[in-house]
Symmetry: C3
Subunit: 341 residues, 3 copies
């Protein structure tokens, strides 16, 4: 038998939500104000000779209703379902795991992986509006996790780790349709740097879906079949405050001449105050191209306070202001508790 | 890391089932003769200063087939998906958790939470007949668990605990549609008392469904949009036997002038015998009102024996007799094993 | 509280797959090259007097995508959801558990429970071709696990164990439609023997489905309503190699005069080499009968090497060659890692 860890997070907040473009305000008890709630198992085995095997099985759930997954139709273990071997050569991992865009996005903004309140994450991964008729689609194609994936990670090279991601498209008779990416993460003293490039042609968590979003009207986002993305991010910890900045380009192509390009930059700050931190985040996206006709802009600002009751439990409150071209500015508010186990 | 408990129950029985109104008898191996089978995780963290954080993630499953949930379309963690903070002020809990009607019902009848054989629970929570064409609908609206819920529980006040339940309706633009309830539980020496009131307008486990049942014919139960319920229960342990009695009123309203009122009383006894207990339970419901036209009555009697192999494992056998107005009296029988882990 | 074990397996491989009859080759990262990936919980309680209670809750998942189950619509705990009592009388188990055909098949071929590369298991349990239009249907009816099941197992009788399997059909008003089986497993020194008989009329994992496969064209396999199966297997460990042989007859009946009979034999060898074993497996099936008209034959040969990194972690590579009447011979290849936890 082995040492298996049961782990996860329960994150629930009460609030009032309205993103720009939403038709109405909603009073909610919702899941994932700061971290997408998840549960799962992980374990590690020492194989001798410096070799190690490990696995992770993690699934998202909605802590307000107990529903499995991040959305209807998500997979049970869509956060992690993988096995890896590591040694002096680095690590190789098989299965479903992180998309290359995930860690650069969540490590280089002060609201981490908040799919509700982090301006950068909201722009990058979260659609607004009803399914099939979005007022906003995610900037990043192909989800925050990749299925059918092989990741090779280098060992730590004086603070630098590089990860090569490859997702098999599994399309019968077409071995050329795949997702491929390289990401870099550097951390040394107060300085953090990150960059990634991905070339995505395969939908997630399951193949056969729309690459970004199935929305067909008023803009035919469903037509997007390929995305190349370029990202650079930096953080510096001045102790009185940690500052964050990111810049990314999402270049979307279709089977026809139509295309769309998005450019997102974000700025952030996390400043210790009392037994917690003041958080400030801003993201700004501009999209243009023949697919959408007129340009679309969005800017989102969040300010919050995260109070640490312990290393594993915190209380948070966030106020977010959001504006998309053609829709009114809208504000959201939440107060919640996050418990890691 | 923390002390997380993996917990649950496996309850399987073999039997022959026919409720009054069922078209045919079925020989079965079924799940949940005494307790709805479930599995899950819970944990607790000492935050210091008398404060504590805890969480629970529990899902039902059917131990005869391995199916998730209590029924098709149920949520993975529909039993519990919540996080709470407790201290001298009592406890506040966020997420999906108990409905206010659950503990009063299952603590004040000798068959506990048996959704198969407890007369009170069967009347209160379990429909009879095919989906959409019931011969019986549950007396209680809005499920035995509530989603999007905040519960405030008082500390123990000399044997009395009060719980205030509030479920957000999460209807966009309509903050007035919610579920709200107060329940009271008192226990001191041989005496137990309980009461609750709820005002329910929101379906569970997910919003947007029928409040009680989607059945539209021969009676349009689907039209019920609001229920107020009133409950009082008592138990007294005479040592030779513990006696139970409950009374409840379920007042159902629709968007039109149609309405239905149900009144349920139950009596029960649990008497130690050998390494177990003889169980005797009876429930009687009468419904009237313009929604149903003619009155509907149901009475159900169960007699059983629960044999304790250990604190965690018991064998049980139950015989149940059931009669609904307009249908023949029918009997069910089961013999099973329940194992808590 | 009790000692509960969290357990499972993560098995992922990269490969190129084409079974005979498949329209195209697919490059994949897939789950379950050697063992169907699963996760779950088990526990045991000493009841005193030689009695023991135990339970198992295990679910399959696809480690390449994180999807629950072996296929869409599979049950969460379709591997195991059962509780048992054991003592000197043997063991009685209730719930969902093994089909009687499973252990004889997987213990008597060198590729174990590989639903991808074991010739015997592929012939016996795995369909080829698109859902509803198979180029191959499984030889065995009614799944590798049975729901609504009672299993009585004898104690170990000098190396012999016998298991009586009974699955309730749960068809209202028809108590005569059930699955019933006897299997025998013998192990003593280098010799292993096995046999089973089943008479299957009920689909799995859920009732109401096709007994073997819903395919209606070009052959109406959906019409099969009953199957009797007979199996005998033997293994002998010569130390330089362990040899395996099995023979089975699957006799399928329909509600009309149409019928189909299948005969499958398999041969296998597992030979230690270095820190692992060379595996060689062959299966040959011939089907005839009025249901299919012309005879159908299939033969499949696999050769592989399984390298043990530890008792719990191994690397494997397999090459499989497959031929079904009327389709071209096709080859599959995979290299993977399996980690048990």
């Amino acid at each position: 038998q082995t040492s298996i860890t049961v782990q996860g997070a329960v994150d629930v907040f009460a609030g009032s939500l309205k993103n720009s473009g939403d038709t109405a305000r909603r009073a909610v008890v919702n899941s994932g104000g700061m971290t997408t709630s998840y549960f799962g198992f992980k374990g590690s085995e020492d194989l001798g000779g410096g070799l190690k095997a490990d696995f992770a099985l993690n699934g998202f759930y909605q802590a307000d209703t107990g529903t499995s997954g991040r959305f209807g139709g998500d997979n049970l273990f869509s956060r992690d379902a993988n096995v890896g071997l590591s040694g002096s050569f680095g690590k190789i991992q098989f299965g479903r795991g992180l998309a290359p865009s995930f860690l650069p996005a969540v490590l280089f903004n002060p609201f981490g992986d908040s799919f509700t309140f982090s301006p950068l994450v909201v722009h990058t991964y979260v659609p607004s509006g009803a399914f099939g008729a979005r007022s906003w689609i995610a900037a990043n194609a192909s989800d925050s996790g990749w299925s059918n994936e092989i990741i090779y990670s280098t060992p730590d090279l004086n603070g630098l780790r590089a990860n090569l991601h490859y997702q098999f498209g599994e399309v019968a008779g077409r071995t050329g349709t795949n997702n491929i990416a390289l990401n870099l993460l550097y951390s040394k003293g107060p300085l953090g740097l990150s960059a990634y490039y991905h070339d995505a042609e395969v939908s997630n968590p399951n193949a056969g879906g729309a690459l970004i979003d199935p929305t067909a009207a008023p803009v035919n986002y469903r037509a997007i079949t390929r995305q190349k993305a370029y990202f650079a991010g930096a953080s510096y910890n001045f102790n009185v405050a940690k500052l964050f900045a990111t810049y990314q380009v999402n270049d979307n192509d279709t089977a026809t001449a139509l295309s769309m390009k998005g450019k997102t930059f974000s700025l952030g700050m996390s400043a210790p105050l009392g037994q917690g931190s003041v958080l400030l985040g801003y993201a700004n996206t501009k999209r243009d191209g023949s697919l959408i006709g007129s340009d679309i802009k969005r800017d989102t600002l969040s300010v919050g306070y995260d109070y640490l009751m312990s290393k594993r439990t915190d209380l948070y409150t966030v106020l977010m202001s959001d504006k998309i071209t053609g829709a009114s500015r809208a504000a959201s508010f939440g107060i919640g508790v996050r418990h890691r186990f």
